[in-house]
Symmetry: C2
Subunit: 324 residues, 2 copies
Amino acid sequence: MGGDHAPEAVVAGALQAAPLLHKKLLLVGRTEEIERVAGCQLPENVEIVHASEVIEMHEGPVEALRRKRDSSLSVAAGLVKEGRACAMVSAGNTGAATAVSLITWRQVRGVRRPAIASHIPSKHGGFLLIDAGASPDADPRDLVDFAVMGRAYAQLVLGREQPKVHLLNIGEEDSKGNAFAKEAHGLLKENPWFSGNVEGKDVFQQRYDVVVCDAFVGNIVLKTGEGVAEFILNSIKDQVPKTGVARLMYLPLRRLMAPLRKLLDYSEHGGSPLLGLNGLCTICHGRSDAKAIRNALLATQTAVEHGLVDCIRSSFADRQENGR
Amino acid sequence: MGGDHAPEAVVAGALQAAPLLHKKLLLVGRTEEIERVAGCQLPENVEIVHASEVIEMHEGPVEALRRKRDSSLSVAAGLVKEGRACAMVSAGNTGAATAVSLITWRQVRGVRRPAIASHIPSKHGGFLLIDAGASPDADPRDLVDFAVMGRAYAQLVLGREQPKVHLLNIGEEDSKGNAFAKEAHGLLKENPWFSGNVEGKDVFQQRYDVVVCDAFVGNIVLKTGEGVAEFILNSIKDQVPKTGVARLMYLPLRRLMAPLRKLLDYSEHGGSPLLGLNGLCTICHGRSDAKAIRNALLATQTAVEHGLVDCIRSSFADRQENGR
């Protein structure tokens, strides 16, 4: 029920993904509305689970969850907790999806705060930015947890071998940054997979696996990147003549922009997983279209089949044994 | 003597600006090296002031300033303090330029920390991002000071009337953000010129005058923006055929990219002023070419002629009288 184009885009994406899913797909929300969009004859592996309420995009998460006990988000998180579902996917209110996942599933033992991992496109196959929005008031120690969780995802879902971790900072030298970044650097440095600082400019120029930061900075990176990309692409588009023969001269440009638009298109990347909890929630962009939802469901299936949550759980168990 | 292309680019830019300057221009650095580049016959209003040492780009600022008493930065800051110069311009080590300005001139009464104001291009004439790099460990109260200083610059140098101030945040609603942003929002809200939060994406889409943040976040915005812009423009460029007839089909593209490249070109914008001190230092990009230095000198002249430092000083005197 969540997202700017829900339930239409969400249901359409789910139906597109259904034939490619190895398990049953549960559509959680108002049965009538879902049936209106999906039709009454659902594919064999798709089932509706009724939830009478919806948390809107701009509601305060904690208050909304307290008031709406039968929201689609609460019901879906409950299904995962009861073992009736392996994971959930939402394009709704990010704060509410994070809060309900945290309250219902709780942190993996050893993890203080959950984090959202976002796949950012770049020249070299992209990198994973973590935390992209779950825990804005993080502690420098949390960045080490984010690194461990991000590495698990990069390895299992993105197929990166021995993923390296960099700290997003305002200079490359070890001594750079504010007090928070310096402390995080000191803690990260104790781990063999840590490869030092990286600046906001360089993440796009070279190959990186996992880049850690707090959620405030992560959100700024995501949004600034999106803003600059739109600004540039629209500036180019605005200058192309709309009519007349001159327009034809710009046809090669279209061919040239297409792969770039595809690269920058968030709907290709299948949503962003919320990591560090005893359950998996994939959070999609509020503007998600059917393709974005479809890809998010498929990426979530990959994460589930590779045992992502168990892998994170055992990484933290190992760390605790080793006294970290 | 500072910058990746110094002293050649710096001296060339200075000589380009000289005919347009209403006061004498002092070139501070190693006389021999400057003369080698500039020739012995300098324009009438250009003079060399000898400084025997140079702080390199990657030296630790505080330690370097202590060790190199006769650095070009220290000598230039001294000239401003003695009243022999109105302002200084540097393309060198930003940390060292900030530190030497702070140590030599001290804060304007009422200002806790200085800030760098950076002009960011956007669809609507750009906006001023402050702090873009001077004080990474700021306090939420400092953001109110940055707003006051940024407004003075936006008004006097960029010609914005009654400039509005927005807080860079991870959501538009008043309640959004981490603890730092929430506290800053509460303090900014007491001022009539404050217009609420703005997200990293939206700053490029609409008209904004002054956007405040701490220097860590400001640096991340600047560098991410630069990285994304380069990534996109290079991706487009890489796809254009380099030879053959096909190349001709892409000629209209060049015409189309030129204004965009100009818009994104930092060398157009004349450097970034360091504000809040009893003296004015304009900090240029390390990669500055002659045009960047020329424009920085002209923007600095505008700031000096409009009495920027005095204006900031009287703004803070008024605020103190009003008990803020």
